[in-house]
Symmetry: C2
Subunit: 418 residues, 2 copies
């Protein structure tokens, strides 16, 4: 079964909004055995939306649209769908009651524009949008399905999970099992990896697809099957892949590095702190991004200004004078100090030139020192991470986490020092 997504909104086509919805929807569709064939972003324009609907229905069984459902003049999706399916708007008392209920404590929202939200296309099935005023509309042209939902990400997510996907599964349950398995490697160029895997690629069944996704030095290797492979077969070929790349593998899942590092910390019964200069709290917020992180992440000292390094992390001003603030001596001191101050088993410190200014011939923009302190001692490494500020700080966090994972993989559980 094939689906397509049409995202509707001028904001997507002038670059004011990044479409994060489609990737999330794609994952959920795959989990239900539905292949996503194409994503199309179109303007809030009648002819454009109609043309995209025609094209999508010529290829797919299920068409999902997001966006264009607000009460303001620029949102036209509902009207265009009415025209497309030859129907007209009628008042839906259930939707009206829901909206009254939603805004019970905010009567100022219940104005005449909000009232247009309970007008719905007569031939559509209306599903409940628990968290918003835009109705979720389902149309059934022939044996196909069109579902229209809001573009606001959290409304779309609740709509998909609670309403649209159960609805689709109830009507067109897919027996196809789409499988993806991903592992992550570090420290080998893409072309060398492909040569290492040449025999593997030539011997695997045609219906197992291997994809390479390189980013910032890490390559994700994904094995996919769209229905043909059994689970056992998939596991067997994935295990072979793992064996072949064992020397470079940092994870056998597609999870973010901070999740992998967090799991290792929890398995070791260990806690961590960070002292950050150039990464400015980004590493901290990665480490506590996911639920359960309070089990291992305790806190950080973000010492953006040098006075903070001196006062809160005990970096002597002479050390900064002698070595510079981006130096092995300084990051080692930062890591050791924050581990003591916060009272954790591990600590990571970063200091670098994120740019665009601040670079020198010896320490150009992109130079980052990272230190890792463990119950067994401290290590540090210097990296050169490019020229763009956001890239430098993102990559510094990535290097910090890869280093942490590599340390944790090879260490014994720590004896708690508290």
């Amino acid at each position: 079964m094939k689906a397509e997504i049409i995202t509707i909104g001028d904001e997507l086509l002038i670059g004011q909004v990044v479409d994060t919805n489609s990737a999330w929807m794609a994952e959920r569709l795959n989990e239900c055995g539905i292949e996503l064939f194409q994503i199309t972003s179109v303007h809030d324009n009648r002819e454009h939306i109609i043309a995209a609907l025609d094209e999508a229905f010529s290829r797919a069984d299920i068409v999902l649209t997001t966006g264009g459902l607000g009460p303001t003049k620029d949102d036209i999706t509902k009207h265009v769908l009415c025209e497309y399916f030859g129907t007209h708007l009628i008042e839906d008392t259930r939707v009206r009651e829901h909206i009254y209920d939603l805004y019970r404590e905010r009567p100022d929202v219940l104005n005449r524009l909000t009232a247009t939200q309970w007008l719905v296309p007569e031939c559509a099935e209306i599903l409940e949008n628990r968290v918003g005023s835009a109705p979720l509309m389902v149309f059934r042209p022939g044996d196909k399905i069109l579902a229209s939902m809001p573009g606001v990400p959290y409304e779309m997510k609740i709509a998909m999970e609670e309403q649209i996907l159960p609805y689709i599964n109830g009507i067109q349950h897919s027996e196809v099992r789409i499988q993806h398995k991903t592992l992550q490697v570090n420290g080998i160029p893409e072309s060398s990896l492909a040569i290492l895997l040449e025999e593997y690629e030539n011997s695997k069944p045609e219906y197992l697809h291997l994809a390479y996704l390189p980013k910032d030095g890490i390559i994700r290797l994904r094995l996919s099957s769209y229905g043909e492979a059994t689970e056992a077969e998939m596991n067997e070929w994935f295990d072979r892949l793992k064996m072949l790349v064992a020397d470079y593998m940092i994870a056998d899942t597609d999870e973010p590095l901070e999740v992998i590092a967090g799991r290792w910390l929890q398995e070791r019964g260990a806690t961590i702190a960070t002292a950050e200069s150039c990464t400015g709290g980004k590493l901290a917020s990665l480490l506590n991004r996911h639920s359960g992180s309070s089990a291992f992440y305790w806190g950080s000292i973000i010492s953006y200004d040098n006075s903070v390094k001196e006062r809160l992390l005990g970096v002597p001003s002479e050390m900064i004078k002698a070595h510079g603030v981006v130096s092995e001596a300084v990051v080692r001191q930062m890591a050791d100090a924050v581990r003591k101050q916060i009272g954790t088993d591990y600590a990571i410190a970063t200091s670098g030139v994120a740019g665009p200014s601040g670079g020198t011939p010896e320490k150009p923009v992109g130079t980052v020192w990272i230190a890792w302190t463990t119950p067994d001692g401290t290590s540090a490494e210097c990296f050169h991470l490019g020229k763009l500020r956001e890239q430098v700080t993102d990559r510094a966090c990535q290097k910090a986490l890869v280093g942490l994972i590599q340390i944790l993989k090879h260490q014994q559980p720590v004896a708690k020092h508290q």
Copy 2:
């Protein structure tokens, strides 16, 4: 002049990668007076790519493709373009020399797969990809343009800015002036805002488009013109809009809140620190995300674990026992303490229940206390920010920044206390 983007890669259609490229490209195209008509994401599949090319050329003058240019088997864009334009691959000595140069210090990358990267379609013009091995290819079917570039975001950005856009401008310079102007309002529902602006919307010229982009309580109002309006006319109607929404306006640009807050801080000659619990460093990393932030942002204490609140921020354990860690008393103490510790003029503190666990009937998930300390005193406010962890922490940062902007707008420049 119309352009379309075709993003190529299975990873986009199984949800493994979010397409951040298209929004960035759309902005750059608009700046050059080129309208982006449609974005289409397709699989690494010959028939699919060819169909998308046919459709895009039927609508647009310029087609930009990203992705599928790596040296591995799953990347097929170059071969499909060869077939599409009826040409074949030839060796390009300039590309070969560039690749040798690029990997001078990494001879392990110069293997036989990398060597396929200097094979290019005979009829294509090859532009220099300064930072990668995939050739940038330009085809000229009739008076149209197709440019193919890598999907890795930073390679794409450098390619667009240094090569593709100058190339397009050289051939089809657009005299059309696409203008967008955006302001941001807070504290008014979308439907009420639309009623407030009803007369404005009815009286403005047809060719000025007004769009409403609501997200998490903030609404961005965008006025757009695709060539018809003069700059003076655009400014006049934007100024009228500003006057009408003055009571709710927090910024008259589309810049992120942290940039607006940072500019206010710099104008006031003031510095800031944060003490974060539930936001875990996210607010810090926003404040120092952009270049120049070291002028106003000095540092943070991230006190995720309560022991850190007690030890580094002087929150008495009795206070936590009496009021709970998510309380007005605790965030006020955190803000005051971090301002003193770091030695800044301003400070913000956050403490909340980010979830999914940790909620109670009195303080459910989403409850967040925020305190702002200024040279004139401390204020605090409690918010309820939803149920999803990432949403709660994102919105908490947003509320913290909106509150800061509102304080800074109404305050005099501070007398430096150092």
